[in-house]
Symmetry: C2
Subunit: 176 residues, 2 copies
DNA sequence: CACAATTAAGTTGTGTGCAACTAAATGGCC
DNA sequence: GGCCATTTAGTTGCACACAACTTAATTGTG
């Protein structure tokens, strides 16, 4: 919910604030833009390349991510999809409805737990995997990075995400 | 590869496809998810931390980026804002309208070029800068990274974005 | 000067992403 | 068995992000 107060500064609590104060006051806003902004920009640039490549498949980028999970794990409840992709039902429900309308997945209430909805690829959705298999190579090639560099970047980003999640969690302890 | 199928194969043209074929077919879809997904996740994690921190200021993350540009450069036409932030008018127009409604910026048609709209911070918008000055430190601290690591990550991400943009450009040569 | 091409904002429509809420089912606990 | 807290999807509302389009102003060219 993160709807809480913010006594401001809580995010620093419990974290080592080992940032050297060698950077002049004035520079902080510029520096900051570089950090957050370069990530934001990279994410959107990635999105753009995926958009072009996935157009043939009729998928958006988040829809592709969902299909990746389904191809790997088969029938999966919405809840677990959300855990894999870090998305909640507010995002997944309409997305899955579109995938179902496109004939790529089927949704049906679990028999054992009527709260849960199982999502599984239709034959068409499963068949799409073959055509999707060339996507990764094209993406890697578009990055211009070697596999080693990609692995390294991946590790850094995961560490970053972990730290950011931990910091945000300090604020809103009760969600997802 | 890159043989027949897609007319979209242009994305590979002119790039060295120096990806070693040591990874088995089956693994590609998993690997791929790791690259794109970790970036996607990191971007959203950043967004989450910013959302929490910026709530005090009444700004969303993209609105904060716009204010950063305005604080640094003063009066700026919408067009230039878009260049700085890599956003088009479809995103900026409603965003700026909200910032104007919040009393943080003013928009007015340029006298010399009636097509252009100049955006500049109001006194309230300018005053917000002071309160925003603590944001970067809190963000850096939330990442758990040193400034050196951040600089390094920043360089990699910029390189990545450049390569991805170049690849996407090959596909849709006529835009933005 | 006239007129086509270009440029800058804005609008419309679609698809996320997420907070806040609702509804239904389940599991504990007495 | 009855009741309440929890869990799971779904819905609503808001804010990007971007493609495609519209409108208005400017520029370039003959």
């Amino acid at each position: 919910m993160c709807a809480t107060k913010w006594p401001a500064g809580a995010i620093l609590d419990g974290m080592s604030t080992q940032v050297p104060q060698t950077v002049p006051q004035e520079e902080w806003l510029r520096l900051d833009r570089q950090i957050c902004f370069s990530l934001h920009a990279a994410s959107r640039a990635f999105n753009g390349v995926y958009r072009v490549i996935l157009k043939d498949l009729g998928l958006t980028y988040p829809q592709y991510l969902v299909m990746l999970v389904l191809w790997e794990h088969g029938e999966t409840p919405v809840k677990r999809l959300g855990e894999h992709l870090r998305l909640d039902s507010g995002t997944l429900s309409p997305l899955l409805k579109r995938l179902e309308a496109a004939g790529l997945v089927r949704r049906e209430r679990s028999a054992r737990d009527e709260r849960s909805v199982e999502v599984r690829p239709t034959p068409e959705g499963a068949a799409l995997r073959e055509r999707a298999e060339e996507v990764p190579r094209r993406i890697v090639s578009a990055t211009g990075f070697t596999l080693e560099e990609i692995g390294d970047l991946h590790a850094r980003l995961d560490r970053l995400t972990g730290a950011l999640d931990a910091a945000a969690l300090q604020e809103s302890p009760g969600r997802r």
